[in-house]
């Protein structure tokens, strides 16, 4: 019973860490450049959860000064993650643009095929 409780209490963290590891695994294990970027995106997105989860309080509202509300969610992590999302989008866009250029230059986006052609790189 104790373990079920532990699991339930940490469920959100378990999901976060699963996504984190899964994303990182895809980046390492896949040779297709688009799939690598998808993995990278999942990895980055999991970090958004790491920030947002502890900031959200059940029943909490946005921090508006009003006598009707007593419980607020912490706005700072939300703002930070808004910034991180922008960074993530920019990275993904740049990564995809590079993949397009690589496809034009090499005619493939499989890493092992490209390394075969270059020898080193």
């Amino acid at each position: 019973m104790r373990y079920v409780n532990e699991f339930a209490q940490h469920y959100n963290y378990i999901v976060t860490i699963f996504l984190m590891v899964a994303g990182l695994y895809v980046v390492i294990a896949r040779g297709n450049m688009i799939k690598k970027l998808i993995g990278l995106s999942i990895f980055q997105t999991s970090v958004y959860l790491l920030y947002i989860e502890p900031a959200k309080i059940l029943g909490g509202t946005a921090p508006i000064l009003d006598p009707a509300y007593k419980v607020y969610s912490n706005p700072l992590p939300h703002v930070l993650i808004l910034t991180a999302i922008v960074v993530g989008v920019a990275t993904l866009a740049l990564g995809l643009a590079l993949v397009v250029r690589i496809d034009e230059a090499y005619g493939t986006i499989e890493e092992d095929e490209i390394f075969e052609r270059e020898g080193d790189a």
Partner: protein
């Protein structure tokens, strides 16, 4: 004027940021270059003013938007950040006059303005990292500099530049994300993002047993180590340096890894403090092991490379090993050596990569075999290379000797004399890889590509010569750079013990 003087810290970020915007609007290569040059020459003036103020009156705290720290973002310039600011801006100022011809030669006309835009954005990011006192703000600037760096690398002529940029993008993003995870964990524990505030809240007694704090340190260190290319997290660096345009390589080799080292110093000494990082956790042992491995393996790999740019890239990895060795030694002379090498290595590596850029400008290739006899055709360019190479080896009278001397003293103080021996041996390996290039360039008959070459125009030559002269100057007048580095080291180690 005094009103403006209060705002010097923010100007370090705002001026290049606006410059980048204007560059993007100008669209004309030469105009964009002129603007980038103007910005690059203003920056060191501001940086030196800041250093002067910090030397006189201690750390400067700047409230962004008037919000008091720790709630608002604080820009905090202490001696270490002022030192790194001067270093980065001086390298930028030296490179820009050199850049016009080199960039015009290597990058198509309509893309040149974009090159300068990206250069200025990269400068914004690097200076922002150095000037800010907010852990999350560092991440934002880190990504500004990283994203523009990927573009700079991808502008290389060879299609392999695209591949190098892609690989660096993957590795760099993983590094930055690790950094954010670490900052997130720290925020969960302390509820603060301000570096000074975090350090105060991580009171050693409470932090010693805290697992999230250890995890944060691990994530942050690994993330930043990816950025500074600490062995074995260096795989992105040789390709990126080898295929980026010459100007980009010279700039990045002199600044990007140095700023990452700065972040590592901040993390270990300003956030976690000596007690957690060195007494509780084995950060010192890990750093020492990896640094020695980097010094050896990277230097040996450099010996077997045939592309001179790659030789220098591998040599950079080895030299970064010396810097992290200084951090790992964790005593005042060792840390002084590490910090002064940060400065010295930036000078010599920028000069070396600029001399290679000049060779590319004249003969269009950088393969060792094509450089036969180039020293006789381009004597001044290769003289810069020789001076830089001697400094890499650490010959007395060059800047490299000063750093290695302090490192050796630091190792002696700890009683680790085998380490002194290792420093000596790796310097001898540097003799081999520098010597190989020098032998080919000076002692062979000019042939093929090299036969018709001559020294580049003055605009390219003067910056290189200035940096080479600085390399010698800081090797003779050891007080100038080492004295500041020593004060920085004493501040870092004493401040939080």
């Amino acid at each position: 004027m005094s009103k403006l003087a209060e705002h010097l810290p923010i100007l370090q970020v705002v001026v290049p940021l606006l410059g980048a915007l204007l560059c993007a609007l100008l669209r004309r290569g030469t105009l964009a270059w002129a603007l980038a040059l103007a910005v690059s020459w203003i920056m060191p003036v501001i940086a030196i003013l800041l250093l002067q103020r910090v030397l006189d009156g201690g750390a400067i705290s700047y409230r962004l938007g008037g919000w008091a720290p720790p709630w608002g973002i604080e820009y905090r310039v202490d001696l270490l950040s002022a030192f790194v600011l001067v270093l980065v801006t001086v390298v930028g100022a030296a490179i820009m006059p050199f850049a016009r011809r080199s960039v015009a030669h290597e990058i198509e006309g309509d893309k040149q303005a974009w090159f300068y835009t990206m250069y200025l954005l990269c400068l914004t990011g690097l200076l922002g990292i150095t000037v800010t006192g907010d852990a999350f703000n560092i991440f934002v600037f880190l990504e500004i500099s990283s994203l523009s760096t990927y573009v700079l690398i991808a502008m290389g002529k060879d299609r392999r530049a695209l591949l190098a940029a892609y690989q660096y993008l993957i590795v760099g993003t993983i590094g930055a994300t690790f950094y954010v995870i670490g900052v997130g964990l720290l925020y969960l524990v302390t509820g603060s993002l301000n570096i000074v505030d975090i350090a105060a809240r991580l009171a050693p007694a409470a932090a010693e047993t805290s697992r999230p704090v250890f995890a944060a340190l691990a994530f942050l260190t690994v993330g930043v180590s990816l950025k500074l290319a600490l062995f074995p997290l260096h795989v992105w660096l040789p390709g990126a340096y080898a295929h980026a345009p010459s100007v980009a390589t010279a700039f990045l080799a002199g600044t990007a890894t140095k700023v990452a080292v700065y972040v590592l110093l901040r993390l270990i000494f300003s956030i976690f403090g000596v007690a957690i990082a060195f007494d509780t956790l084995p950060v010192s042992e890990v750093l020492l092991t990896l640094s020695v491995a980097a010094m050896f393996i990277a230097s040996i790999l450099a010996v077997f490379e045939t592309d001179v740019k790659r030789v220098l890239a591998y040599s950079s990895l080895g030299q970064i090993g010396y810097i992290t060795l200084g951090i790992g030694l964790a005593n005042v002379p060792g840390l002084t050596g590490g910090i002064v090498h940060l400065f010295n290595h930036a000078l010599m590596k920028t000069a070396l990569f600029m001399s290679l850029g000049a060779i590319v400008y004249r003969i269009g290739t950088i393969k060792l075999a094509d450089l036969a006899g180039i020293g006789r055709q381009m004597p001044l360019t290769m003289a810069v290379f020789v001076v830089g190479g001697l400094a890499l080896v650490g010959v007395p009278g060059t800047a490299g000797f000063v750093s290695k001397w302090y490192l050796a003293v630091g190792a002696f103080d700890r009683g680790w004399w085998p380490l002194v021996f290792l420093i000596l041996v790796t310097s001898l390996i540097a003799v081999v890889y520098v010597g190989r290039v020098v032998e080919v360039a000076w002692f062979r008959e000019p042939s093929g590509f090299a036969a018709g070459a001559k020294d580049p125009p003055l605009s390219m030559l003067l910056p290189m010569l200035a940096l080479a002269a600085a390399t010698i100057y800081f090797g003779i007048d050891t007080e100038a750079s080492a004295a500041i580095a020593r004060r920085v080291a004493e501040g870092l180690i004493g401040g939080l013990k």
